[in-house]
């Protein structure tokens, strides 16, 4: 029987909720407080919780380090790419109005904000995990005596 049974059960219940909350914060950022940055941190916190309870190797199986570099880069590319797309459409850099110039309720702005927030979300989640993996992988196994 593995130790910390209670922790494991509680964590298993909490992690999906944390992830759900992260997505809520992400996609509800236009209406309430929050946005890509906070959502990314929350999702990363969920994964870190998983790593703390089930071990960093299990976490690395769930979210492999090779994804991290790609995810980090993808976020910036998505953000910058939104700007490049507005260039292609003939506007200034990050001028989201170009996505829907005719719209009466600023649909272009909504698309633009959605895209860049998603980019921030990707980069933040992956960068936070990168930092955690980098520190965590160097740690000797956590033992209770240390605390």
């Amino acid at each position: 029987m593995s130790p910390h049974l209670v922790l494991r059960v509680v964590a298993k219940m909490l992690i999906p909720l944390i992830a759900l909350f992260a997505f809520y914060v992400q996609f509800h950022g236009d209406f309430g407080p929050g946005g890509g940055f906070q959502a990314g941190v929350i999702l990363a916190a969920g994964i870190i919780l998983y790593a703390l309870v089930f071990g960093i190797d299990a976490a690395k199986k769930a979210v492999p380090p090779s994804w991290i570099r790609i995810g980090m880069s993808f976020g910036v590319l998505l953000y910058g790419g939104t700007g490049v797309a507005t260039w292609m459409l003939g506007g200034n850099f990050l001028d989201y109005t170009q996505f829907a110039p005719e719209s009466t309720h600023a649909a272009g702005q909504h698309w633009g904000i959605f895209a860049v927030e998603l980019g921030v979300f990707c980069t933040v989640t992956c960068a936070m995990l990168a930092i955690f993996y980098a520190f965590g992988s160097r740690t000797p196994e956590l033992s209770d005596e240390d605390w």
Binding site: Q38, Q109, I113, A127, A134, F135, T139
Partner: protein
Amino acid sequence: MHFSPIFILDFGLMAMLLVVAFAVVRIRSLFAIVMLQGVYSLLSAAWFVSLDAVDVAFTEAAVGAGISTVLMLGAMLLTDRQAKPIPVHQKMGPFLVVVVAGLAMFYAIGDMPAYGDALSPANAYIGAEYIEATKREIFIPNVVTAVLASYRGYDTFGETVVIFMAGLGVLLLLGLNGNAGKWRAKPNGHNIGEGAPTPARNPVENEPKPVAKSTKAKRTAKKTVGVKS
């Protein structure tokens, strides 16, 4: 001056912040310091809520109290549990800087706009314009999101790059699997410089294939230099 509940709450929170900050400076147990920093972040998040800056409060709670506490613990586990005592003469410099910077701020307090003044430049000029323009131009209820992602979206792009760079930085320096930092650089010729092993032992070599070189270099580094990381 009226003592509304909010006013008392603000002062209470700031007093607690001050106490926690002093405790962080005084305590030597790193574990306690990390935990107190989490407390500090949570208190400032609460204070931001009382200032009606919910977005900032949210970020502070998620980053300051959440992630950075975990990361600081991770870093602490790699180092030590106790901070080394710092001799007084080394503390004087930073102390002086803090005192001078603090006094400078006190000097300017008289000319600062009153707390919560709706007519202060920061609230009345561009700030008010953002609130007006968001309704007209962006059509979303959260003005903060509109400012962050659209009006000042370029700043946010820069911040995203900063975070990307932070991730890339740990990737470069530590590696995600905890195995970086053992590779040694080697001149592409005779090494006569400081720390050269024995002269003329490394014959002039053209650059070999990178992969082969790395493993070889790693092995020699372990044997000759014996650097532990």
